[in-house]
Amino acid sequence: MLTINNLHVKLEEEDKVILKGVNLTVETGKVHAIMGPNGSGKSTLSYVLSGREGYQVTAGEAILDGQSLLEMEPEERAAAGLFLAFQYPVEIPGVGNMTFLRTAVNAQRKARGQDEMSSAEFLKVVREKAKALKIDAEMLKRPVNVGFSGGEKKRNEILQMAMLEPKMCILDETDSGLDVDAMKLVADGVNALRSEGRSFLVITHYQRLLDHIAPDVVHIMADGRIVKTGGPELALEVEQNGYADILAEVL
């Protein structure tokens, strides 16, 4: 379970406040969606949870299954079960995708006191999961995200998620830049990972991804706060009327 209490965040370098008291609880096994206009702070929330530099938490806390995330290093948060599928996956020239995946899987196992995966076992698992996402051997060999299309990058994020088996998955605009087929592939990948022990926070600007990944709860974020929470019908309301009505209503 992820609990965020009264989270206030400003930029480290400037006096710009971005998150102005976010309160949110994602119960274990549930899928929550966060929708909201551009610039409302959705990506910032995901970065702050995963430990990116450049932000300063001025108040509040974030607790994942009893562990206080905000004091931890990014790699410790990952080992604790947090995963962020990036809105803009990063290209790393010179580091092979396979090497990257294997290093990450084994680093997390090591941090949890588990044995490393053998090469043979790793290969078997990665091939299986890659196949389901239509990621071919060539893509696995290439440097991380280098020369990948937008859709390939997003599928690669889901592959990493599948390999790392996190407890808490945050997907930041995973649907952006995808055509319908690619979105379907990504959604299937996410749905295959849904389980009792795993929670999702799906950040999206549009409702369409939520047609494929059915959320249990929908939150609307605006100007650094969660301004409204409801069921799946809230997403449909946004789809039909845009954000303006909802925002007018709460502000």
Binding site: G94, A104, A107, L164
Partner: protein, 427 residues
């Protein structure tokens, strides 16, 4: 007036005593010493020594250098089937060496060749070095030719059965070793030369390589890790038509390293690649100085130099491509990059192009930058600890230089060595 500049090191050069040797070598030494005296020893005022202080290289005696305990680090090229010749502080160690005959090439030592009349050796010793003195003087290479106590003399007519591996051990903390190698690849010949180890407290090598038409020369070198060692190397190469020359150097540590490569592409359709990967921390000064002359048509030259610098380390790159008149369709590429792991480190680059032909493609780029924080965060967000993530990015940065090595087993040895170093330093 410019001419009035006092010749550096005149006293030291006047006091030089040449090693005893047979007739042709004695003459070659005398001529080399005369060249050095004519040029004078380098000082920081010389154009190509502005970024690197030559004082400890020109001093009459070598500054002491402590020995480095390699610990569990495997010997370089251990898994490669090769013919090993060992020089300890510049002195050949027969007991530790393989039978040179196993390489399937004509191979003798300079100390022995000097006594015999080997006409091709006589035509090479000091000859390529002398050609390489113009337009940039390299007096320390001439001084090496005067003083070299030993080295290898290799002639290859076909494909060498095995790589020749020169292993340079460092045993005495004040050793001062000078080796000079001459290598002749006859038309169509093929040789891989491996070099490894620190060699001495102060170590100078000159390698003159004559690559005839259709021949291939592969050179892979790792320079020893002794933190206080000083190394000066020169490669002078003359390359014929449809020939290949490839040289790669891996350097980690050493208080001072200067690797000079001077080559001339004299025949059409040849390929010459020079690459280097260097990594240093603290009192580390690493200088790559390269001069490539294109004097024939349709030749390709590539320079790929990568340096990772930390804790006040200094990297230098001085690379020049000269395309002579008539050297049409030249393809010259040069890149030098450094990754600065902190604000104390420094990279000084002097890339130069001088082109006298109108139908050529030449490019050069020189950059230095910090580690990519976005990539670092991406790796860490997947659970990779910071130091390991940094090591992965360092390896990735150096990979482009290592890719220049054609032989996959040798490239793997280099990659493994680098990975081991990084794991010990950063893990």
């Amino acid at each position: 007036m410019a001419q009035a500049k006092a010749k550096g090191g005149a006293e030291r050069l006047a006091a030089v005593a040449l090693p005893a040797s047979g007739a042709w070598l004695a003459a070659a030494r005398g001529a080399a010493l005369a060249r050095a005296q004519e040029m004078g020893l380098p000082t920081r005022r010389d154009e190509y020594w502005r970024y690197t202080d030559p004082t400890t290289l020109t001093a009459a005696t070598a500054p002491a250098a402590a020995l480095f305990a390699a610990g569990d680090e495997p010997a370089a090229f251990a898994a490669i089937d090769r013919v090993t010749l060992v020089f300890t502080d510049g002195v050949f160690d027969a007991a530790a060496s393989d039978d040179p005959a196993a390489a399937g090439v004509e191979l003798t030592r300079l100390a022995l060749a000097g006594q015999a009349d080997i006409h091709w050796a006589r035509e090479l010793y000091g000859v390529l070095e002398a050609r390489g003195q113009n337009p940039v003087p390299r007096p320390l290479a001439a001084l090496n030719g005067a003083l070299a106590t030993d080295g290898v003399v290799i002639r290859v007519t076909g494909k060498a059965a095995k790589p020749v591996s020169l292993v340079y051990r460092h045993a005495a903390t004040t050793s001062d070793a000078v080796l000079h190698h001459i290598i002749r690849l006859e038309p169509g010949a093929d040789l891989t030369l491996l070099e490894s180890g620190p060699g001495a407290a102060r170590f100078s090598t000159v390698t003159e390589v004559d690559v005839a038409d259709g021949a291939s020369f592969h050179h892979i070198r790792t320079q020893g890790r002794d933190h206080e060692r000083r190394t000066l190397t020169h490669i002078f190469a003359r390359i014929g038509a449809q020939a290949r020359f490839k040289s790669f150097t891996l350097t980690a540590n050493g208080v001072l390293t200067r690797n000079e490569v001077v080559m001339e592409l004299l025949g059409d359709d040849s390929v010459a690649h020079v690459a280097g990967a260097a990594m240093g921390d603290g009192g580390f000064h690493h200088d790559d100085t390269v001069f490539i002359t294109h004097a024939a048509e349709r030749c390709e030259s590539r320079q790929v130099f990568k340096k990772v610098l930390k804790g006040g380390a200094v990297g230098v790159f001085q690379g020049k491509i000269l395309v002579k008149q008539g050297a049409q369709k030249t393809d010259g590429y040069q890149i030098s990059q450094s990754l600065l792991l902190d604000d104390d480190s420094q990279f000084l680059a002097k890339p130069e192009l001088e082109i006298y032909a109108d139908d050529v493609k030449c490019s050069h780029g020189s950059t230095s930058g910090a580690i990519d924080e976005t990539a670092l965060f991406y790796l860490r967000s997947r659970g990779v600890p910071e130091r390991l993530a940094q090591a992965l990015l360092v390896q990735a940065f150096l990979a482009q230089a290592i890719e220049e090595i054609e032989d996959e087993a040798i490239a793997e040895d280099i990659r493994g060595r680098l990975e081991g170093w990084l794991a010990r330093r950063m893990g």
